[in-house]
Amino acid sequence: MAITRTDAYVIPFGPAHPGSGNFRIWLTVDGERVIKARAEPGFLHRGFEKLMEYRTLLQNAVLADRICILEPLSWDLVFAMAAERLQGIEVPERAKYIRVLLAELTRIQSHLIWFGVAGIAMGFDTVFKVALTWREEILRLFEEVTGARVYPTGYIRPGGVRWDLPEGFLERAEEVLLHMEHYIFELNDLFFENPSFVSRTKGLAVLPPEKGIELGASGPALRASGIPYDVRRDDPYLVYDRLEFRLVSREEGDALSRFLVGRDEVLESVRIGLQVIRDMPAGEYQVKVGPFVKVKEGEAYAHIEAARGDAGCYMVGTGGRTPYRVKLRGPSFTLLIPVLEYLLRGVEIADVPVVFWSLNHCPADMDR
């Protein structure tokens, strides 16, 4: 007896953490194929925008790194930049270089964890283990500078950075950066050029460039679709206009090209890091900002290229000790809701985790 008709049914993906990262997608499937996907955010909502209205600038700097677990220093940076624009603080030159160095190290470790988790979603457990082992080298550098492996508790804060770099740090950072370059080549064999990985991701979930812009994608996901948009080049901040780096972009727009853009970005970050170490000036590393400083009247917006894309912070002050309103723009919000819903249409159930992790997102900065 032949089955003539099948009914579509709905299955949830998530929100148990290892596969989906505190995030749920309702998949309407017909047989093995997804015909509709609906994202359900909110499992990790902590209310940063409201919390920031009750805290002074320095307390908010401590809070800001909690926004995204995988790249806390980038969020510290964007908050500090918005606060400095509002207050009219000019940051010393050395602090700018330290910030760029830490931001690039953050990008490298965030990309490594991206590759690792994507590997585990596809059954490449070795990739996860080695990527996290390599990431540990960067976390050790962070511990040396900020005093904590993951959460720097406001190391980059309004006025500069909290402490100067420790003795001999630049040499160790240079060594680690050179290691990273080597590791990426090692990862080529293991992951990026592995035939079972390539055949799994090539041509999967193509994001056309015009659709990427329409849905608000940014970061590696948009650059993989052939649109070389990068805040570091298009709206330079700190000292990025003085540094030499190539903007990585690819034309295909599929899952494979997103990973390859991420891989090449790590190499570019290593280049930027080495230039910063070479040019690091001496001098002051912060402008003193008092703990109970009044937030000036006015509004300011700052955005940076975080590892996941365009991260922004909008701040309104009314002369009180705390900001009147803070709006955070997380790059993962647009990646995980409209872009993911669009990309999942038509893929097979087994490919859902692959598409999901190819986007380089973080549910924490989506829910905020």
Binding site: T126, E144, P291
Partner: protein, 126 residues
């Protein structure tokens, strides 16, 4: 492809530590358990106001004869170890050590007990 990598890590140095017997010492700037030198404290309340998590509250001391004012009580269960209290304390009465063994069976042990003396001698953590 995978065998050389496996061999490299198999023959390489052990990456883990046998935890209770050996443990890694944290970086110099690591922020762990607080030490509060009560004799240095001037009861200004800056630490209470600067704490982002409201982990510090100013309370009167039990021994009212010797310590008549209010003193900070630090609750490590609420603390995020940002060290803003240490940074803005005018008399350096609060210091963060690198002691990270904070696990306990009793919640009350997470309240930092005041240490007498000026802190010039080796800090006694409780």
């Amino acid at each position: 492809m995978i065998l050389p990598i496996l061999g490299k890590y198999f023959a390489g140095k052990r990456m883990t530590l046998a935890f209770p017997k050996e443990s890694e010492s944290p970086a110099e700037r690591y922020r762990g358990r607080h030490v509060f030198y009560i004799d240095k404290c001037i009861s200004c309340g800056t630490c209470e106001r600067v704490c982002p998590n409201k982990a510090i509250i100013m309370l009167p001391h039990q021994d009212k004869e010797k310590y008549p004012k209010t003193y900070p009580q630090i609750d490590l269960a609420k603390c995020c170890f940002c060290a803003l209290c240490q940074e803005f304390c005018p008399t350096n009465a609060i210091e963060l050590t690198t002691d990270y063994f904070l696990t306990t069976f009793d919640r009350k042990e997470l309240l930092v007990k005041p240490t007498e003396g000026s802190g010039e001698e080796t800090p006694q953590t409780t």
